[in-house]
Amino acid sequence: MSTQPLRELLARAFPDASELDVIDRTGGGDHFQVVVTAPSLHGLSLVEQHRRVYEALAAPLSDGTIHELRIKTKGEARP
């Protein structure tokens, strides 16, 4: 899978994101690094922040499209 469909799923889940990136770590289309910085993550624990990402990517995670997912999230205060 290319990074584009994952990017779209994340953009839908985090419409307020100031930073949103998906990197194919190995070039094989199944090991991804996701970076999300968004005000909607502000005040949440890292566990809760990562849960939001997992929820957004539930379909490609459960059907095996994503074999490995690394997540880096940050909640930023609203300006």
Binding site: L46, V47, H50, R51, A58, L61, L69, R70, K72
Partner: protein, 119 residues
């Protein structure tokens, strides 16, 4: 629900529980290794559980924790996160702080690492 009771028991009764692919002596996945190494750097007394012997273990674990990936780290029954979070917390010093708060200042003195087999 063959393993649920055992999984819950390990989570509740262990100071630090690490559900991983393989064992500390023979790690079968890079992310499990990242979590293990971060916990070791923090001096955590790890109780490791290999989820590979039966796919059912992972399914039941994720149903309990609501966390879809492996590894999973729990401190005193509470989910701390997977490899990314544990690494991040270790690097910022928050992991040691959490361990000290939940296990006491001398938590690292035991240095006990044990492996529990569920299957």
């Amino acid at each position: 629900m063959r393993y649920s009771e055992k999984i819950k028991d390990v989570i509740q009764s262990s100071d630090v529980a690490l559900f991983m692919k393989g064992t500390p002596a023979f790690v079968m996945c890079g992310n499990s290794d990242r979590a293990l190494q971060a916990l070791r750097r923090a001096g955590a007394p790890v109780t490791a559980v290999d989820i590979l012997p039966d796919p059912q273990i992972r399914q039941e674990l994720s149903a309990i924790s609501g966390w879809p990936t492996i590894p999973q780290v729990f401190v005193k029954g509470e989910l701390v996160g997977g490899a990314d979070i544990v690494e991040e917390l270790e690097q910022s010093g928050e992991l040691e702080q959490t361990l000290r708060e939940k296990l006491g200042d001398d938590y690292a003195s035991t240095r006990a690492e044990q492996t529990v087999a569920l299957a």
